[in-house]
Symmetry: C2
Subunit: 297 residues, 2 copies
């Protein structure tokens, strides 16, 4: 298996971007990444998107985006895996380059949510859960996270103030990121006084409705030096699945998929949690971020 | 690169299957294929589906189906590429086994359309076209095929009777297939007297609204003999893309993607069109089937 490098990155601002379509956002991030890499075409484009069939009534994004990019000798694929769509698209591209199937890959993750009403977005997000067993009850994603938060605080006797620190820290990090949607510095009090969205979960503990796209260009490590000196090597990428229904999991406060994927990735990369300087976790809520950090070791 | 074999196949009946959900259909075909192969688990499940986010309001099918199958050590991925979703899922699985990334793959294609009104299905199918440039005009897929049919008949001075033979032959083949939806034998007159659905395209020239699923199990050729003596080797699988908009294509009556993919596949398999005994083409309409056959050589 070959070693793989990232030779280009690009992203749009994240926020309410009224003057750009889903396609515009994907193309903007892609062109930035290609430009950053100094490359004009790739062998394959991997697109991560979950909501466009419902929110834009648009399927077939792989063809549409590759057409908009003007690539006529590439192939493209759309990967949909709910919240993990972008991550899985990246994983697929990494494995394809690693195995020698292709040399150059562009990965682009894109969503456009702010053209829809908040109730439509909340409903669309519930399409991630099984319609026959979970979604039909009327529970929202925020409701499921609220359930986790309540159980977590009770089981470990943790105060909401301590949980809220996660959001405070996230905003602090965002304040230094020119692409971030919410750059305002907040305190624990702000979190705990923000409106309840699903008791006990508060507004500032939960993700916003956003438009945006991000893209990276991958190639074999031995080719990377042709493009730039400061490329990044990907040491490992791993995925895992758990039972989808929270109620069927062995421990509702552990994300088995995170734990198993992390173990596989650490093993493949030959590093351990203590070697890591920067972690980015899927923090659609404070509690999801906290559980993810715990499960990563 | 390794050689790859199909060691199991399974499919449901195709038709209006009111008593089974999308998930039931996927699971039924999958279990039949696994049973046929004599295997209980695979490394990865590839799911091809295009319409479930719109018609079932269900995304995240990769997690939902793998959960229903009770596979807890596998991973799964959903591949969406409009009409080509099942084919692309198969292609991805083939490449993954070929390259050594995985050993055992289950591929399942599934759609459930008959729970929705015909107008909803027609509308959902238009999500395959660009909403900004094509779908917003109100044209349907049948309308696009009717356009191709009209241009084809005019350019090549072909009578509608000759085109209708394609549907007659398809029904003849279907009559021998226990899983087919429309097994009735028809004649040219039946086709030409069936209702106009988009002038000049007639009802019996166009696909029905169907529920169904099909699945195959793939493994490295050297492992296939452990499971059965009559396995099938996959000699090649190739994909290609063309400009999505019909009006931007070099020749509106040629599917460049079919032509290029066929060339690649014939080259990889080291066979030529004259070596082929059985062809299955994407014949969502008579004219699409005819153009596909021409472009395959």
């Amino acid at each position: 298996m070959r070693r793989v490098a990232i030779i280009g990155v690009g992203c749009t601002s994240v926020g309410e971007i009224w003057d750009k379509s889903l396609k515009d956002l994907a193309v903007e991030a892609s062109l930035k990444a290609l430009d950053d890499a100094g490359i004009e075409n790739v062998d394959r484009v991997y697109i991560g998107n979950a909501l466009s069939p419902i929110l834009q009534y648009q399927t077939n994004l792989a063809s549409i985006i590759i057409d908009s990019l003007g690539f006529n000798n590439s192939s493209s694929i759309l990967v949909e895996a709910a919240d993990a769509s972008g991550g899985l698209a990246f994983h697929e591209a990494f494995k394809a380059v690693r195995s020698g199937l292709i040399d150059y890959a562009l990965v682009v993750g894109v969503e456009k949510m702010s053209d829809s009403k908040p109730s439509e977005v909340a409903s669309a997000l519930m399409s991630f859960e099984d319609q026959d067993y979970v979604a039909f009850t009327g529970v929202t994603q925020a409701g499921l996270h609220a359930l986790l938060l309540r159980i977590y605080m009770e089981k470990f006797n943790v105060k909401h103030e301590d949980i809220a620190l996660f959001a405070v820290n996230a905003h602090k990090n965002a304040s230094k990121n020119p692409y971030a949607q919410f750059k305002n510095i907040i305190g624990v009090e702000d979190v705990l006084k923000s409106p309840l969205i699903a008791d006990p979960l508060r507004l500032l503990e939960y993700v916003g409705i956003s438009d945006g796209a991000a893209a990276v260009v991958l190639c074999p490590l031995e080719e990377a030096e042709k493009f730039r000196s400061n490329f990044v090597e990907i040491l490992a990428s791993a995925t895992a699945v758990d039972k989808l229904f929270l109620t069927e999991r062995d421990d509702i406060l552990t994300f088995n998929s995170t734990r198993i994927a992390a173990e596989k990735a650490f093993k493949e990369a030959k590093v351990s949690p203590k070697d890591i300087d920067v972690v980015e976790v899927h923090d659609s809520s404070t509690i999801a971020g906290i559980i993810s950090l715990e499960d990563l070791g």
